[in-house]
């Protein structure tokens, strides 16, 4: 298992030298810090007379569930729809498409058949002006995606560049040091010669007992040092042993780069939407792929703004494609192929077999936030183990945490009796018997 928590001396040295390098190469990094601002598409010529900004808002709230601008989704791609159909026709279609199909409008029937005979929701609430706005939005020319890519590329270049810069700086530094040493030697030589020339005898140093001999002779000091060394090594050995099997910060590379930051952070999807089993089961459950498809049926690519210098849009889109490959979804025909390939995630939180842990006890009954144990997951680009998952960590929380009893019929009687017994209103998990061995080990 990859262990990140174990900082041995080697890694510490590396870290220090890296820090030095960074300090020297700061200037070269500074330029990357400037945000690669996505180039906003210039407002297109409003050929339809609508307001594309308003149109965008309307599009996102009404149409985006089934339509995309540039790709087929449940419905066809809508960019340039005004070129394909008359405006009046579009008003009618949007207000009530099924009527048109029934009445046998050839264009309508054709469209209906082309899209797997899925009926489009009627939008009688949209005024003609609203539709104009939407059409204005859909008539905008496609934004150039070029801006994002070079940004990411530049980032990568910069990362490489900084490596070579560091080498140059190190080389120069070494050269300077060598020059300094040589100069020192030469100065010393010159001074000696001057002294000799002046007839000054440099008295040889008196032979003193070497410090190590003195140390060996002083038995008390030896004893104290030995004790100190033993204690110190004991301390480190203990520290080493105690972290065996503790995988805090374990952050394996997963088969699909799934970003909790995008899902739980940026899009504020509730944890328990995907990990629904956490409410009722002992395991939180890794969502099955059909749960992903609830949204990703329509989201086949990320927005331009999602891309970061580190991960490009193409990178994220490739991850969504991995999902499609696994679940057997054909983007072009918008249908399942039936060829599935389960995803083999690397398990991050591994409790030993002899520990029983139940999510629903903590999530549903205790009302504990997921973040209490799993950390600020909504900020994690790559998921990692936040807590040490040691027994001390569990017990610590059980000692401190008050049991959430309000409104739970199960605790009504027990709470009355226990609070009388302990003379407190709030009871910790430990007082409820949450430290007993058999509650978790069986």
């Amino acid at each position: 298992m990859k262990k990140v928590g174990n900082h041995n001396s080697n890694s510490r040295k590396m870290f220090l030298s890296l820090a030095m390098m960074l300090a020297f190469s700061f200037s070269s990094f500074a330029q990357d810090a400037a945000p690669a601002a996505p180039t906003e598409a210039a407002p297109a010529a409003a050929t339809t007379g609508g307001d594309p900004v308003k149109g965008k808002a309307l599009f996102n709230s009404n149409c985006a569930a089934c339509h995309k601008l540039d790709a087929k989704s449940t419905g066809p791609a809508l960019r340039g729809v005004a070129d394909k159909h008359e405006k009046e026709w579009l008003y009618k279609w949007i207000h009530n498409s099924s009527d048109m199909i029934k009445s046998g409008d050839p264009a309508a029937v054709k469209l209906f058949n082309e899209n797997n005979k899925s009926v489009m929701t009627s939008f009688p609430q949209l005024s003609n002006e609203d539709i104009d706005n939407i059409i204005a939005y859909t008539s905008e020319p496609k934004a150039e995606p070029a801006a994002a890519l070079p940004g990411a590329q530049a980032g990568a270049d910069a990362a490489q560049g900084s490596g070579s810069n560091n080498n140059v700086i190190l080389g120069v530094l070494a050269l300077v040091l060598v020059v300094l040493v040589v100069m020192l030697f030469m100065v010393n030589n010159v001074l000696r010669k001057v002294a000799k020339a002046n007839g000054i005898e440099v008295a040889p140093k008196a032979q003193r007992t070497p410090i190590w001999k003195a140390f060996v002779k002083n038995q008390f000091l030896v004893l104290v040092s030995c004790v100190f060394l033993l204690l110190a090594s004991g301390y480190f050995v203990y520290g080493y042993l105690m972290q065996v099997g503790v995988d805090q910060d374990y952050q394996p590379i997963q088969p699909i780069h799934y970003s909790h930051k995008i899902h739980a952070g940026d899009n504020e999807i509730n944890c328990k939407y995907c990990h629904s089993a956490a409410r009722v089961s002992k395991t939180a459950g890794i969502p099955s792929l059909n749960v992903c498809m609830n949204c990703h049926k329509n989201i086949s690519e990320v927005a331009e703004t999602t891309a970061t210098p580190e991960y490009s849009k193409a990178f994220y889109d490739a991850q969504i494609q991995k999902l499609y490959d696994a679940v057997g979804w054909d983007k072009t025909t918008q249908s399942y192929t039936g060829k599935t390939q389960p995803v083999k995630w690397v398990r991050i939180h591994n409790l030993p077999d002899f520990v029983y842990f139940n999510h629903s006890q903590h999530v549903t009954v205790g009302g504990i936030e997921c973040q209490t144990c799993h950390g600020p997951v909504e900020t994690y680009e790559i998921q990692k183990q936040f807590a040490p998952l040691t027994m001390g960590w569990c017990v610590d929380c059980h000692r401190k945490t008050d049991v959430k009893m309000e409104g739970n019929g199960y605790y009504k009687k027990i709470h009355e009796e226990l609070s009388k017994k302990y003379g407190v209103e709030k009871l910790t998990e430990a007082q409820m018997g949450g430290l007993e061995c058999g509650k978790c080990h069986y």
């Binding site: 599935t340 398990r347 077999d353 520990v355 199960y410 069986y442």
Partner: protein, 1019 residues
């Protein structure tokens, strides 16, 4: 001057100096054959690897392995691609189903986790009256049997179903063309849709016929019932309505006529308002029913026949001449008179395999107008006809059978004359064995076709007339299997699935309900009608029976054991390791011999130095000369003199793991489907090593372990007399042991406090709890050799005690009468020997969860500690295996893992193969070597019940905890009740207040959370 004395160390040195000289120079007289195990000496010496290098490599690899071990493995986690709606990982699903395998039947709930069934539970819905026995509980493991037939085979070569189907079809067509017989040989099906398919098949093929074969026959009872009531069925007795039960050789608490009578029987056995039923048992072998009886009369089957006629005489007032010894006659008369007096509250049952005897049973119950004897909802679970099977074998030998299709039967193993069957099978053109295993019959047939286990199958069952149960799959077929019904549909030319057929066909049985409702409930109860009663010539039946002759020599009485039954599940390690409730011997069958006969025949049992039980071997020879050699002998207290018992179901070889190939095949002696054979027994020399879990047979008058009293004393005397609290001395005064305490007690008034109540009156020793505990708690199987070393892992054992006097009360009195050392030595010696007709008591013992537990105080690492809910916790990961706790436990219920029992080829049972491990309960840890384990009161389930309540924000419902413990949930007789004594409404709290309540070894002061109820016998 130096002495000439010769000093010598041994006679050899004095007399023969050369040996000593040789020994002085050479430690070993003979040269040690090092070359043999060092292979080639030359290559060894020329090797460049020196000893030093070798040690370096060892050191390096050890260090490398140690370092590598610090790195944890990478675990993969693979979710569903499309998660089925009803499956949530970590949450159990339950499916109602029913089973009938030709021998056992039950209405079940199957617990599944992540789509795999892991445990059998009883369906408790109204109408589901048949609870699972030990074998049904264990059948879940037979699903994951790695020795199952995995794909069809033709002539022992792998084939496919399409080939098999076409072969069967063409063979049937060929038979039709040539006029040969097509025979379907099946077990009793009790499945209306299957019977319909067979009827359709026969209608389309007039040359076809259906023969029903029960390996263990109930033909006599069926014939008798058929001749009187016109229907081939068995009475479904209601024992709860009987206040006086006379059983003549019927082990109704065992497998007699399918069994399943314990629930009703026990209802009358618990004293209520000073009343309980009275039970006379006349029998040859010691059975569970005999153990439960108030009065047991051991007698030969010949005598039983006479006794039955005598009872018939008394009840009906006839005067058929009876040939019975006077003292026996007097005892039988008592029973018969009480039976007559009980009238409609009386019940007579008999297991004598004789049509005349079974006719008398009908006659007596008709005269009594017994309420327990009802023809409403008769049992449809046995249909087999001995005559037709015999006819089939003759037809086969004559070569008139062209195609034989067998399902659910293994005649090559179960038929006494299996040689004739095999001979006939060779003359059959196409023989198809539809079987779970590649068993003896499948090996001898042309086509061996794998069928689905009942947990993978659809099906319908009419167990009793008027009820309708559905069998539904709980997992997809593990192998390339088909159901028998699918094969029938294919030969009938029907398309579609059997599921659709079943669904369509079920509508006529479930009028007023829906398919989904019946599937959910598992059963549907209609309105069964009583059969119109007929009569028969009972008098001549009685006459004929009274003239039946006694057997020459010894009477061999064949029976089925609680563990293996008819032997279908012989490859099930849970059942093999299950100790027989009576003899407490596992992994074997044996001939049971009475003490008197053993003495005359020179047969014996003894406990040898390592604590194991040894027994003589005997050779059994039947009247026609069939021999069964080297049958181990158990001297059985209570065995009727002149009879010996032997269980069928053992001695199988085909499709069994090597460890399971134990015992002898007693079916070889099941001549003419008669369970009584006249045999001679001869000592065969040699000693058999048994794996017996209980060496101590008798109670030695320790009346505080099993408290027993008679109904009379129970009704008339104060509880202090018959349920005395033991006294201890405190400050030189006798005080009650319960009043003395070394420890301060926890405050247990808040929250739950779990207690388990065990009623010794209700416990029949059936062992369902033992197997259920195995399944729930991942208890390992250790094998015969380890059981013999007393290393069995059963968390729950059922101790069986015999009385050394006629009664346990007599034992106590005898012990009280001991005066002085010499008297105590001789008396105790004598009391170790069980009486020839002892009383028998069962006592389930598991961890008593002492509130003041001796084990907890001695654990050096605090691995075992006490919970506030009353459970004694065992933290396996903390245990270092000192075994102090086991030594300090007065109840000896702690079990130590001497070895690693999972993934270890030395213990090749279910935990050693991937398939067998699928039965493991994911909520319970699988223990490793060097760890102590014991009953946990199923803490995983009690916690689950509490969590469920918390999640729903309610209090735990009344008696909701009872189903938490695997043992109490499995107990169909209600002997075990588990619950929270702090909930004053709960049943267990009421039982704890009962006057009959006592704790085991109360004087030790452990304050257990398990309590027992004094056994009351209606003598």
């Amino acid at each position: 001057m130096s002495s000439n004395k010769k000093y010598w160390k041994s006679v050899e040195e004095l007399e023969n100096g050369s040996i000593v000289e040789a020994l002085r120079n050479n430690e070993f007289v003979e040269e040690i054959p090092t070359d043999e195990f060092l292979a080639n000496a030359d290559s060894m010496s020329s090797s460049s690897t020196s000893r030093r290098d070798f040690l370096k490599y060892v050191g390096f690899s050890t260090a490398a392995a140690t370092l590598a071990a610090c790195e944890g493995p990478v675990h993969k986690s693979i979710p569903y691609v499309l998660q089925p709606e009803q499956i949530i990982p970590g949450v159990a699903d339950y499916y109602a189903t029913s089973v009938f395998d030709g021998f056992d039947f039950a209405n079940l709930l199957v617990k599944t986790r992540e789509g795999r069934p892991i445990k059998i539970e009883n369906n408790t819905i109204v109408g589901a009256k048949f609870a699972a026995n030990a074998r049904i509980h264990a059948s879940i493991l037979s699903l994951y049997d790695s020795m199952r037939l995995k794909s069809p085979k033709i002539e022992s070569k792998d084939s496919s179903w399409s080939v098999v189907d076409s072969k069967i079809k063409s063979s049937i067509a060929d038979a039709k063309a040539k006029g040969g017989q097509v025979v379907l040989l099946t077990n009793t099906l009790a499945s209306p849709s299957t019977e319909k398919l067979i009827a359709d098949f026969i209608a389309a093929n007039p040359n076809a016929k259906h023969v029903v074969y029960d390996a263990v026959s109930s033909s006599a009872a069926l014939d008798a019932f058929e001749s009187v009531y016109g229907e081939r069925a068995l009475v479904d007795y209601d024992f709860s309505k009987a206040s006086l039960i006379v059983s003549v050789g019927a082990d109704f608490l065992g497998d007699w006529q399918g069994g399943g009578y314990d629930t009703g029987y026990v209802q009358g056995r618990i004293p209520r308002n000073g009343k309980m039923s009275r039970h006379f048992q006349l029998e040859a072998n010691m059975t569970l029913s005999g153990a439960a009886a108030d009065k047991r009369l051991p007698m030969t089957v010949a005598n039983q026949k006479q006794a039955l006629v005598h009872i018939y005489n008394v009840v009906t007032g006839s005067a058929v001449a009876v040939n019975l010894a006077p003292e026996l006659k007097a005892e039988v008369t008592k029973a018969a008179q009480q039976l007559k007096a009980a009238g409609s509250k009386g019940l007579l049952v008999s297991g004598i395999q004789d049509k005349n005897a079974q006719l008398l049973v009908l006659a007596i119950n008709q005269v009594l107008a017994s309420e327990a004897f009802t023809t409403v909802g008769v049992r449809e679970i046995r249909k087999g006809s001995d005559e037709k099977v015999a006819q089939l074998v003759n037809d086969m030998k004559a070569g008139s059978v062209h195609t034989l299709i067998m399902s659910g039967v293994n005649p090559v193993y179960t038929l006494a004359d299996s040689a004739s069957f095999v001979e006939g099978l060779k003359k059959v053109k196409t023989s198809v064995a539809l079987s779970l295993k590649e068993d003896e019959t499948a090996l001898a047939s042309t086509i061996a076709a794998p069928v689905a286990h009942y947990l993978e199958s659809w099906g319908d069952l009419v167990l009793t007339k008027g009820t309708y149960s559905l069998t539904q799959p709980t997992i997809r077929p593990l192998f390339d299997t088909k159901q028998f019904q699918d094969v029938l549909m294919s030969v009938n030319g029907l398309t579609g699935t059997y599921y659709d057929y079943l669904k369509a066909y079920s509508s006529s049985f479930i009028a007023g309900s829906t398919w989904n409702k019946v599937l959910h409930d598992g059963v549907f109860v209609g309105a069964p009608q009583a059969l119109s009663g007929g009569t028969a010539d009972y008098a001549s039946a009685a006459n004929a029976l009274s003239k039946s002759k006694a057997a020459e020599g010894l009477e061999l009485v064949l029976y089925t054991k609680t563990g293996l039954g008819d032997g279908q599940q012989a490859n099930n390690p849970w059942l093999q390791e299950f100790p027989d409730p009576i003899t407490r011997v596992s992994w074997d069958n044996y001939v049971t011999v009475s003490n008197a006969d053993a003495k005359t025949l020179g047969l014996s049992n003894e406990i040898v130095a390592n604590g194991g039980l040894n027994g003589s071997y005997a050779t059994i020879t039947t009247a026609d000369g069939t021999k069964l050699e080297n049958v181990p002998v158990i001297v059985q207290p209570g065995q009727a003199v002149g009879t010996v018992g032997l269980a069928v179901g053992y001695g199988r070889k085909a499709a069994l793991k090597e460890e399971m190939q134990v015992g002898v095949n007693a079916y070889a002696l099941y001549k003419g489907f008669k369970d009584v054979q006249s045999v001679t027994l001869v000592e065969a020399g040699g000693e058999h090593e048994f794996a017996c879990v209980q060496g101590q047979k008798t109670l030695m008058g320790r009346g505080d372990i099993i408290k027993e009293t008679s109904l009379e004393i129970f009704n008339t005397k104060d509880a202090k007399i018959w349920n005395e609290t033991p006294k201890v001395s405190l400050d030189h005064k006798e005080v009650e042991a319960t009043s003395v305490d070394l420890w301060e007690s926890f405050d247990r008034s808040v929250g739950h406090h779990f207690n388990l109540s065990i009623d010794l009156n209700a416990c029949t020793g059936c062992g369902a709890c033992v197997i259920a505990c195995h399944a729930e708690n991942n208890v390992p199987v250790v094998g015969k050799a380890e059981v013999r070393r007393s290393r069995d892992m059963h968390w729950l054992r059922i101790d069986r005690y015999y009385s050394s006097e006629e009664t346990f009360v007599g034992d106590n009195e005898r012990k009280e009468g001991i005066a002085g050392l010499s008297s105590s030595l001789s008396t105790f010696n004598e009391m170790e020997i069980a009486s020839d007709n002892p009383q028998v008591s069962f006592q389930p013992v598991m961890c008593q969860h002492c509130n003041h537990a001796p084990c907890e105080t001695v654990c050096p690492v605090a691995a075992t500690s006490h919970g506030r809910q009353g459970q004694n916790h065992m933290a396996y990961n903390r245990c270092v295996g000192t075994r102090y706790c086991a030594n300090n436990c007065p109840y000896k219920v702690r079990r130590f893992n001497w070895f690693l029992y999972n993934k270890n080829s030395e213990f090749d049972y279910h935990m050693n193969d991937d398939l067998g491990r699928m039965v493991l309960n994911p909520d319970v840890n699988v223990r490793s070597r060097g760890v102590m384990e014991k009953c946990s009161f199923c803490i995983q389930s009690t916690q689950a019940v509490i969590l469920e309540a918390k999640r729903q924000g309610r209090e735990v419902a009344k008696d909701e905890f009872n189903n938490a413990c695997a043992c109490s949930a499995a107990c169909s007789s209600g002997a075990m009740v588990f619950g929270d004594v702090n909930d004053k409404e709960s049943e267990v709290a009421k039982l704890a207040e009962s006057e009959r309540m006592y704790h085991l070894l109360e004087h030790v002061g452990t304050k257990p959370n398990v309590f027992y109820h004094v056994k009351v016998r209606n003598t």
